[in-house]
Symmetry: C2
Subunit: 284 residues, 2 copies
Amino acid sequence: MPEFRVFLNDLPGNDFNTIFGSLLPRFKEKLSEQMKSKYGASATLPCFFNGVPGSFYGRLFARESLHLIHSSYSLMWLSQVPRGLEGNKGNIYMARSSPPKVLRAYYEQFQRDFSTFLECRGQELVVGGRMVLTLLGRRSDDPSSKECCYIWELLAIALNEMVSEGLIEEEKLDSFNIPQYTPSPKEVRLEVQKQGSFSIDCLEVSEVNWNVFDADFDRNVVSKDGGYNLARCMRAVAEPLLINHYGEEMMDEVFKRYRAQLATCMSKEKPAFVNVIISLKRIT
Amino acid sequence: MPEFRVFLNDLPGNDFNTIFGSLLPRFKEKLSEQMKSKYGASATLPCFFNGVPGSFYGRLFARESLHLIHSSYSLMWLSQVPRGLEGNKGNIYMARSSPPKVLRAYYEQFQRDFSTFLECRGQELVVGGRMVLTLLGRRSDDPSSKECCYIWELLAIALNEMVSEGLIEEEKLDSFNIPQYTPSPKEVRLEVQKQGSFSIDCLEVSEVNWNVFDADFDRNVVSKDGGYNLARCMRAVAEPLLINHYGEEMMDEVFKRYRAQLATCMSKEKPAFVNVIISLKRIT
């Protein structure tokens, strides 16, 4: 029976204690039961788990020490807010009203970050090793396209409301930008080709409806939800960034308004997140 | 420049968040500065750190994946309180008044645990790889010897006081035993030889005075300390076990009394902890 080593990476500020103390034991128990039902009662779990704290925009593992790398829903996060976003007035991300230099600054930050990621992982993977990445993206060539920016535009509307009511200073809003970039399949392909460590096995796009209840549940439940679930998800994602900038005491109000925006939007249209999925093989 | 992988193991309940978020960054920064002062400003840190949650009385790492194992001040902890300690009345550990079957139960638990440890690490280490272990031990052949048991006997005195004053039920004291075993060099050697994966490079004993101020500081400070420092150290070590059994609200009183016992003892004699240090090489 081969043995597997699994390395779980996240930023050092992530709550590894909960992963180690609660999620991992449950996962291992389940896995162990599956092993025993397949290979008999004496089967042992041939899996060893490690936590790896650090930014994936730097080296994390020893040279040629990994056979498979998987990153899910993390790589759209940039290493930092791009420089040169002055003039992105009233926006908190790329938007149709963003000046071209803002779109350029975001794209260039993505290029630097993604190529650093490919460079680092290329060193860590054995030749012939595989890497599967899923990241939030878009189909369109336009980086300010609604399919990727709408979710942040609605948050910007909520924040702008609060500015106009004097709850948030205008300057605070103007100096806040989300450190994210949701690339098109074409942009992902281009960076992979430029960087040169990997060949592309497969590059696909998939969609996930904003409304997670969409297909599975009663329509009545969906309409009653009124953006509650998505607002909660987005709060988990965005709150750490927002708290840093606007302070904790603003958060309930921000997300109450954001939820209302999401509900209105979801009652009129059927927006979806676009995922870009790429499977790579290390060639050099 | 070779690259190093460092795996930091502790039980899953340990606070890995503090290690990852605070201790490790400081350590890496210091190491990085040393690298740069030795190899120039462009030198990078060739060290990758991982956290490994789990008991070392089971497998933690893949087969033949490690070159050096170091365990410091952990291996005297048993995997569990030995069974069959009934009749260890008034004691919380091995003591001169413990029945022989109690001493035997402790020793047998140590033998099982230490040989499991050797077995697991033997599988994980490459042939020729080294292992250095430091554990609390004793020189004497007598497992109830004062040199290793005194520190717990003084805690037992404090607890017995509280029983006699009706603050703790007698039954609670009688059902509490410390899951530790401090072996002699001879006992360590015997398990290593029986298990068979390792040859012994070196086996030494060293002493550390209970009073950490002993050599470094003013005698006046030492006498004023009145057991404060050691009581704090022992509280960090023993409190998690004691809380589980006696409840949190007892702790201040227990350690106030324990400190008084330690102070009296240290004012009259010069007790020391005995460390057993062994360096091993994997041979098969």
